[in-house]
C-alpha cells in the first residue's frame, strides 16, 4: 500500500492527485481509467479542503492499493469536522441554465465514476474509501 500525507489546502491538490494517478499507472490502469480516478480523487479532496478544517489547519492522507477483486482502492483520510459526503443528496440534473444550482456536483460525479464508495468516522477521522474497476 502506498500512502502520502500533506496539508489539506488547494496548493497540494496536484501533488495528491498525481500521487494517486501515479499509483494507478503503476498498477496498469488505462489512461481513461486514470482520468476517472483523478476526477474522483480531486472531487473528494476539494470537499476536504473546503469543509474539513474551518478553524485550524490540518492534513489529508491518501492511500492507494489493489483490493482482492483487482480494483484500485483509494482511501482519503482527514482529522477535520465530521463530514459524510455520502449524506448529500444528488443535484437536480433536469433544470435549465437559469435554474441549475452551482455546486453539489462533486460527490455526484464520484458516485457515478466509482464501483463502490464507503464513508466511516473512525477515531475522530473521516475516512472515504472508493474502489474503481480496472
Amino acid at each position: 500500500m502506498l500512502t502520502t500525507k500533506l496539508p489539506a489546502t488547494i496548493e497540494h491538490l496536484k501533488k495528491l492527485v498525481e500521487f494517486i494517478s501515479g499509483c494507478a499507472r503503476e498498477k496498469g490502469f488505462t489512461d481513461k481509467r486514470i482520468r476517472e480516478i483523478e476526477l474522483a480523487t480531486e472531487e473528494a479532496l476539494v470537499n476536504i479542503f473546503s469543509y474539513a478544517y474551518p478553524e485550524k489547519a490540518g492534513n489529508v492522507e491518501v492511500t492507494c492499493d489493489l483490493d482482492v477483486n483487482d480494483r484500485l482502492k483509494v482511501e482519503i483520510l482527514d482529522s477535520g469536522v465530521l463530514f459524510n459526503p455520502l449524506s448529500l443528496s444528488d443535484p437536480d440534473l433536469t433544470t435549465d441554465v437559469a435554474n441549475r444550482k452551482i455546486g453539489g456536483l462533486g460527490v455526484f460525479l464520484i458516485r457515478k465514476i466509482v464501483d463502490d464508495i464507503q464513508y466511516r468516522r473512525d477515531d475522530d477521522r473521516n475516512i472515504l474509501t472508493f474502489r474503481i474497476l480496472r
Binding site: 491538490l13 476539494v46 441554465v97 452551482i102
Partner: protein, 112 residues
Amino acid sequence: MEIVNTGKEKNAVLLAVKGRIDALSAPEFEKELVEWIEKGETNFIIDLGDLDYISSAGLRSILATAKKLKANEGQILLSSLKDAVKEVFEISGFSSIIPIYESVETALAQMQ
C-alpha cells in the same frame, strides 16, 4: 491550463482551452471569461479539442458564465470535446444545458 484567443467571427469570441480545468485552474478560466464579458462581449465559442480533463470546478465556471451570458442575451457554445471530457458533461447532465458541437465550424453555423 492555457487559454488562447483564436479570433472573433460572427460576433463570437473564439477561445481554445488546453490542458486541464481543475479546482486550481477553474478560477483563472472564469476570470478570463469575466474579463471578456466586462469588455462587452456576449457570445463565446470555446474549443475544447485540446482539453484533457475537467472537474466539477470547471463545470461550475462554465455554468456561472452561461448564467451571466443568459442575462445579457448572449451564449457560450462548446466544441470538439475529447471523449474523457464529454463523459463528464454527460454524467453531470451539462450536455443537456450547455450547447456542444462537433467542431468550431458547426458551432459558428449556429451563431445568430
